[in-house]
Symmetry: C2
Subunit: 146 residues, 2 copies
């Protein structure tokens, strides 16, 4: 879908989003994620941070196998409620693998993520699956019109 | 469920949470919410902020009528990933109304919310429905052990 420039900028400029998935029975699960956005698609690595909870952390992956629908919110909270804003993205998600290299999509996502978050340069996100989110609906809200 | 004191404090001290609900078909929806927590139960008003999007904003209410399961995340993001932490709460939710006054639960939630967020003192949250979230499972994580 087409996303307006101010909203594209809002999504790109933020550092954290909260991703909701749901299992086959419709029980939701929400976690904070880091992500890269190319103006069309959102990518979030399965970075197993921390490795000690990897199985639990992969709940989002199990959910996506059962139910591809996701909701993502990117927002600013402030105790000055005139400053509140959010962008809520509805879409579908699937996993892409490092060896899905027909079009180099995984590699390109890794590059975007390492550009946005230097921390990823020393992490093996090039060798782990990645969540690919395709937005289908978008809601942007701010308390005070820009 | 029993919630440990450090986690109770973490939940109480934060100002914003992200609440995921899902509709009957399992499509999730996540939004930022303000909330009060009494150590056992979490309350979030339907404050219709802004009133102009009230119908859309009430998506969470429609979802809860279809599907009581919710997931809530409260977290700190920092570009220093050693500072990352979150508490993820799974539970069920239902609406409580101002006239459900058998035990004064709605009134008590309004008081807690107005104590935590002075903004609510001039808003009519005493006359609107409230989401009551009962935690059933909890996951607490921090990158660096406390």
């Amino acid at each position: 879908m087409e996303i307006d420039t101010p909203i594209r900028t809002y999504i790109s400029d933020h550092r954290v989003a909260r991703l909701a998935t749901a299992d086959a029975s419709g029980r939701p699960s929400v976690i904070p994620i880091c992500y890269a956005f190319d103006g069309i698609t959102i990518y979030s690595p399965i970075d197993r941070k921390p490795k000690s909870v990897s199985a639990q952390d992969l709940k989002r992956v199990r959910n996506l196998e059962e139910n591809p629908y996701v909701s993502l919110v990117i927002d600013d909270y402030s105790d000055d409620w005139a400053e509140l804003s959010y962008v809520q993205i509805s879409g579908t998600a699937r996993m892409i693998e490092p060896d899905d290299e027909l079009q180099g999509e995984h590699r390109r996502a890794v590059e975007m993520l390492r550009d946005k978050y230097p921390q990823y340069r020393s992490m093996d996100i090039d060798r782990t699956p990645m969540i690919k989110i395709t937005p289908t609906r978008l809601k942007a809200w701010r308390a005070r019109p820009a």
